[in-house]
């Protein structure tokens, strides 16, 4: 594959997919700045692997896996390692002291806080299945786990999120 072809294909991919990758990264990590770093890392790795990625079934799937793996790598850093916490910091003002205009209403804050309280494996499943809209099988393939694991983690995540989901749901859309 010639470099000009790679560049053109890469530009086209980034132009159309960047926002979705960024949003998924934000849901995974809960931090706008970190999400930007994650997506940059993902895209650099994707470019370097483009010949191989373009031979895969789907470049989207390849990029998704790189993003999830990059997030996993970051969590392994000692200063990033997640620990359970009773009280979470105000995420809208996380980072370098610059307020990010996301999650500014109570409904969004509650969901983001609930997401961050999920074990990271469940959070990945939630993002892949319910934000990206993947099937159980696709999610399992992306994460390298069994479909049974995806199902059980989905079930646990939904149970954990049930309170926050029901709290802001319209009265007519009752939860079971």
């Amino acid at each position: 594959m010639r470099r000009a072809e790679v560049d053109e294909a890469f530009r086209s991919f980034v132009a159309t997919r960047h926002t979705r990758l960024l949003r998924a990264a934000y849901l995974l990590c809960g931090d706008h700045y970190l999400a930007e770093d994650l997506v940059q890392t993902t895209l650099v790795k994707l470019y370097a692997a483009w010949p191989r990625a373009s031979r895969a079934d789907s470049i989207d799937a390849y990029a998704r896996r790189v993003l999830v793996n990059s997030h996993r790598d970051e969590l392994r850093r000692p200063w990033r390692r997640e620990r359970p916490a009773e009280h979470l910091p105000d995420d809208a003002k996380h980072g370098l002291g610059v307020e990010v205009k996301v999650g500014v209403d109570g409904e969004h804050d509650d969901l983001m806080e609930a997401l961050r309280r999920l074990p990271v494996g469940q959070r990945r499943v939630v993002v892949l299945r319910h934000y990206w809209g993947l099937s159980v099988e696709e999610t399992a393939a992306d994460l390298g786990v069994t479909t049974g694991t995806v199902k059980s983690q989905t079930s646990r995540a939904l149970a954990a999120l049930a309170r926050v989901l029901s709290a802001h749901q319209p009265a007519s859309g009752g939860m079971p």
Binding site: R3, V14, H18, L34, A35, Q40, Y47, V126, H130, L161
Partner: protein, 280 residues
Amino acid sequence: MTAHPPEEELARRLTALAEPVRSPLPPSEIDRLARLGRRRMRRTRAATTLAVSGLAASAVAIGVSAAPGDRGSSPDDASYASDPAATTAAPTAGPSSGPTSGPTSGSSATGSCASGPVEGRGPLGGHGATLRTYRDLLAAHLDPTGQHLAAAVSNVQSGSDRCGLNSLGTKLGWSSPTGPGLGMVQVEVTTGPWAQAQVRMSREGWQRLPDLPTGVVAGWASEDQSGRAVGLTRADGTTVAVEVDALFGNDSLTPVDGIDLSTEQLVAAAADPGFVLPAP
């Protein structure tokens, strides 16, 4: 598969939660990512070539020759050629390896910077005094007992742009008095973008530091099995990066034991205001 109501509600809420997140990516930023990707590709190829050939002394030459297709005349090629990070990897030599080639050897590949001020005269590129200051500052923070850090500076890492020198640093050996092996401590002082710093490009998994020393506006850290590194950017735009690695790759095949410098120690060292580029 039919979604249950909670799943539908969750999908709706996640979409709404993420919807405000947007960060327009101009074409120039996409090109920058592509350049970083090409550099990563070159590093991978160069590392592979090094491993196969065992020619550990000329990473730059191998990096260039490993990507002949990148030597075209596109704008990306021009910008890559002028990238300091692509020109600063002067051949390294350990503390006992005698004189080393200075940045002059790197400058020969600088392309668009060739018309800039000439840098790198003498064994240490004319920066011996500055580099010895860097060494002493590192020793004060990382090796106050003087048991580990090489006493002599014999390596220079530098880069320049059209305005002249914008990056200077060195790699120093780190040894143990009780065991074999040779580790490495590298310092880099640059006024260029953090994204183009040599230490930045040589490692992955950078994370923003949550707590910054006084006078520092941004900080990053990276860690893997072999070592760790930090980069701190001051308010004046100067970035100081310090990296430690258990193996001084070009000078030893044996990692040193007990190079247990913490991220906090590296941050304290990098925050030292004595790390400045020499006056033009």
